[in-house]
Each structure stands twice: as C-alpha cells, then as structure tokens.
C-alpha cells in the first residue's frame, strides 16, 4: 500500500521537455489514470515513477520517502508493459516465479503464490506453456500475473490493453477493474484511450505536451473540462465547438443567440473571442414546448450513424459573421464567412429521421461551455 506524491517532476531531453513540472498525489489504493495523446509524456512519467528513467528535477515521494534515486528493484512496484514483455525462454510458471526468485522467497511460498495468481487469472492450465504458444489475451494475463504475484505496493500499467482486439479489450478492462478493487493496491494506469480512462479511473490526469491539463474524477473532466483540450479529448464522439461572441446580454453563435445570466455577462468582456462547446447529447429534438432561454434551430441532416441504442446526426453549420475570428488550430475549424464546420447531435434512434431531412434541434444554455478562444481556458458557465 502506498501513496505516491509528485512535486514539480520534470524530465528534460536535450531538445525537448518530455514532462513539465507535474505535481499530483495518488492516494493509497486509488486507481489513477494518466491519459493523453501519444507523445504527451505519460509513459515517461510512468517510467520515472518506476525508476526506469531519471528525474531531471522535482521530487517523487512514496509514503513520504524520496525515491528519486532509488533503483527500480528497491521501489516494490510492479509494471505491466504495453508489449507485455514476458520472457520468451521461460514457461508461464517461470515467468511468474521470476520476480519471486529474485526476491529469494522459499520455493513453497513461490509455488503457492504462483498457483494462487494463476487461479485468479485463469492461467492454471497454461502454467507449463511457453509464451509463443499463447494468444495475445493469454500473454496479457501472464504479464498481469507476474505483477500480482509480487504483492507490490503499486501497480503500474502502461497501455496494457492497446494490443488486444476490441472485444477482449472490453473484457480485460472489466477484469482489471475487478482485480484492482479486490486487491486494493494503488494503481497508476497509462492510456491514450479516453474510454478506458473514463471507465477505470477513480481520478484522471490529462496530459498534453508534457504538461498536466487537468486532474479530476471522470465526471468532473466530462462536465467541467478546464480547457478546450480536455473538453475535446474526453468524450466520444467529441464535444462540438463553435465560435461565439457576446453581444449585450446575449451570446451569439453561428446557430443563433442564447440568453446570458447576469453574472456571466459581467465575467465575459463584450467582443471577446470565445469558443462555445456542447456535447452531442445536449442537442435535443425540438418537440412540444420550447424551454425559455434555449436556442432552437433547423439543420439539414448530412450523415446518420446508427449504433442501435443511439443515433448520431451530423450536420453542417455555416460560420458566416465569424470570419474575423482566429480559433485555436487544434480545433480544425477554418474561419471565414464562407467556412462551414460539422456538428454532431445524439438523438433518440426512434425518431425516424432520414439523411437530407430538415431537423429542428434545441440546446439549453446550461449545457454550453464557454472557452477563451486564445488561451483555451474554460470561462464561467452561462448558467449553473
């Protein structure tokens, strides 16, 4: 059991900074996720915690003790590699016994622990096989088994599921979650997959370009993203973004206007360049009575994605009137009076809409997040 504390941890390479002043604390027994696009420094951070990579500056503490210069074998952490890294010249049994042999445990104890871990992971019939005779999912289990036999104080998992097919990935995801709950071991899990992050994590840290963008529970990240990057990264399909500006007491979007609450109107300078973000499920079919203050508009369906329980409707929005605005490039939205961008709505699949049809949609002001177009920071919500 261990609490891991990072203070201003930085990793510099001659030409780049892989991790820039990362500070956070992983509570004892917590399932903590590091998520971000490839190359964001999450694996480097993991390697620094386990001791495979040097810390350039900052402190890593485990239960209050500074471990910066400790050898990996003195940290009592077990790691599962993306490539599994199981030893091909050893049987499954030998693979799992390897860390215990190095720790010089008595043979009966090794045998007991290996048998126990094998039973937990349903590897018992495979104990005498060699890795080349195993499937990808089985190899993954062996890598997990080698980690749990040690009864370490911390588990580190580096994209453990990214080499599995979709079905197996979902299954293993559940197994990992169950295992972690049962063992109660502090776990740090690195992934680029936001679904894994959302479903597994007690808390998530979103990384980008070596810098932590936001740390919070999955719900916090989803509902109150700190900036445009987090808003766009968490959630699938991604949040919709449109340029916006304040005019008087109203927020003007390419789709129409929304009423602003008084306090928001104060917080947002008029003429400030803004980006409005809203999730696909917050666009509702306009049926019956219109809610006061909500924005309703008509859109022509460009593309339908039917997934059974949900239906995604894609439609184009013209950006006329926002030509002068410069949006962050990563949004991929060209501005200009003739420019158009795609917006997606998640609606009831029973509504019987067809491609090319005109659809009336509404959005409530509470669902709209406002971001500063220049810094990407989340501004005050329109209304709480």
């Amino acid at each position: 059991m261990a609490e891991i504390e990072l203070r201003e941890v930085t990793r510099r390479f001659p030409d780049t900074i892989a991790v820039n002043r990362a500070s956070f604390t992983i509570q004892d027994g917590e399932f903590f996720i590091l998520v971000g696009p490839s190359g964001c420094g999450k694996s480097t951070l993991l390697n620094m915690i386990v001791g495979l990579e040097q810390v350039s500056s900052g402190e890593i503490r485990v239960d209050g003790e500074l471990v910066n210069d400790r050898d990996p074998r003195e940290r009592n952490m077990a790691m599962v590699f993306q490539s599994y890294a199981i030893y091909p010249h050893m049987t499954v049994r030998e693979n799992m016994a390897f860390p215990l042999k190095l720790a010089k445990l008595p043979p009966q104890e090794i045998e007991r622990r290996v048998r126990e871990a094998a039973a937990t992971l349903e590897l018992t019939p495979l104990l005498d096989r060699r890795p080349h005779a195993l499937s990808g999912g089985q190899r993954q289990r062996v890598a997990m088994g080698r980690a749990i036999v040690r009864e370490p104080s911390v588990f580190l998992l580096d994209e453990p599921l990214s080499n599995l097919d979709a079905k197996l990935r979902g299954q293993m995801r559940m197994e990992i979650a169950r295992l972690q709950r049962r063992l109660g071991t502090t776990t740090l899990y690195v992934t680029h997959d936001q679904t894994e992050a959302m479903t597994l994590g007690d808390r998530i840290a979103v990384l980008r370009g070596g810098t932590i963008q936001q740390i919070g529970t999955p719900r916090e990240l989803y509902e109150r993203p700190a900036n445009l990057f987090v808003a766009g990264f968490i959630g699938a399909p991604a949040m919709n973004f449109l340029p916006a500006r304040r005019e008087g007491g109203e927020l003007v979007l390419p789709l129409g206007s929304l009423g602003l609450a008084d306090e928001s109107a104060v917080a947002i300078p008029p003429g400030g360049q803004l980006v409005a973000g809203f999730r696909p499920e917050h666009l509702q079919l306009a049926v019956g009575e219109r809610r006061a203050g909500s924005l309703c508009f008509e859109a022509q369906v460009d593309l339908l994605e039917w997934l059974g329980p949900e239906l995604f409707v894609h439609f184009e929005v013209g950006l006329a009137g926002f030509g002068g605005m410069a949006l962050p490039r990563e949004l991929g939205i060209e501005t200009g009076d003739a420019a158009r961008t795609m917006v997606v709505a998640r609606i009831d699949p029973g509504c019987g809409v067809k491609e090319g049809e005109i659809l009336a949609l509404c959005i409530d002001p509470e669902s709209v997040r406002l971001f500063d177009a220049r810094s990407g920071e989340n501004r005050a919500p329109l209304r709480e």
């Binding site: 050898d71 790691m79 030893y87 080349h132």
Partner: protein, 280 residues
Amino acid sequence: MADTGGAGRMERLLWGAGSTLVVLYALIPVAWLVSLSLKQGADLGDGRFVPRRVTLEHYAAVFDDPQFTAALWNSAGIAAIATVAAVLLGMFAAYAIVRLQFPGRGLMLAAALSVAMFPPVSIIGPLFNLWRSVGLYDTWAGLVLPYMTFTLPLAIWTLAAFFREIPWDLERAARVDGATPLQAFVHVIVPLAAPGVFTAAILVFMFAWNDFLFAISLTSTSDARTVPAAIAFFTGSSLFELPAGAIAAASVVVTVPVIIVVLLFQRRIVAGLTSGAVKG
C-alpha cells in the same frame, strides 16, 4: 493440383541434386583423407579410393608421438581459452554498443571491422619480435592474444546483431521485477541471445583451431605448438618415406572435434527463440 504437384516435385528434385553435388564436392577431400589414414604404408601411392587393407597403424603412430599429443592438448586449451575470452568480451562490448548511448559507438564498430579486415600475415613479423621481447613467444598466451584480437570483431558484430533483436522492454521488465543490471543480463539477455553466443563461439573456435600462420610463426616447441603446426613437423620413418599416412591420420583427428562442436551447437542455433516475447 497436378501441375503444382509436378512443379513441387521437380523443385525438390533439383534442390536435392544441387545439395548432393555441393556436399560431395565438400566431402570428397575429407573422405580421401580418411581413406589415406587407413591405408598401409606401402599402399599410400596406389591411388585407390577404398583401401585394400584397412589398418589403424597411423593412428597408433600419431598418438604414440608425444609431440602430437602435446600439440593436441595445446590446440584444445588455446582454442578453448580464446573462445571463452573472445565471446565474453564480445558479449559485453556488443551489449554496450547496442544498449548504451555513448560517444564513439559508431567509431568503435568501424574500428572493430577494420581489425577484422587486417591481413594477419602483415603483422606476423612485428608480432614475432614483440612477443620475443616481452616473453610471450612460444606460450599459450602468445597465441590466445592474436586469436582473440582477430576474432573479437566478428564476435562483436554477430552478438550485436542478436542483441539488437531482443526487445528492450524485456530487460526493463527484469529490472522492475527486481533484477540488478547484471542479473537482467544473465537471466534474460544472454539466454535469448544464446543462438548468437553459440554462433560467435563456433566462429572463434574454428579460427583458433584451424590457424596455421600464427601457430607456426609464434611457437618453437611443444610448449605451445598447436596441431596444424605440429603436423608440419611430421617426419617419415625413413628419410625416403613421405609421412602421408600419419599426416592424414592427424588431420582426421583434428577435424573430428570441429565437426562434433558444430553438430552439438547447431541444435542450439535455432532461429525464432524470441518469438512470443512481445505482441504478435
């Protein structure tokens, strides 16, 4: 079906014929040598492939010769020491070149290669003088050193190629599992590079075992003279008799260990040992 079957049979036939031809071409001199070693002294010049009367008298003669048994001992000892030393050093050097970032890695590999390109005969003269003045002339060390020098580059290149194939994650996993760097090397890297280690060992051993040039130039007595050099000093039972039978018997005796070593190790040189280490 019939077509492909026919083509397959034709292909097999051609491959078989080709292989047989190559094997015959390579083995006929060896067979001739064996035949010579089994002939009686009087029949040596009869030109027959199968000896008229089979005798082991030449083998008895070479093993009775204390010079030859001493040479055999020298050969085995020197080749074994050179092999072990070159493979061990080569392993560490290759590992460092593959895994560690340090300035001059490329230079080191290039320098090693240039040593391998160097014609040994060009350094024999200076080496002879040098060895005499430092007291290495006619000693085991005096032969082990040049053998190592000339085979190390080959060992380094071979081993580096094998080390490069081993996923780095395996070593990192071993470190996290609680191994010291040396334990990780011994328990994970070396077993996986075993085919490379055996390949390198065979190459070094063959070079040391077969060498004639250094052996004849840097030795003078049975203290360090190896078999290839010792054979050159064979004399017939009389001034007018060619010791062909004894030379043939001695040659067969020194060829057998090489064949045994290669056959033993080739079973270990199996490719694909690393399959299953990582995904795929």
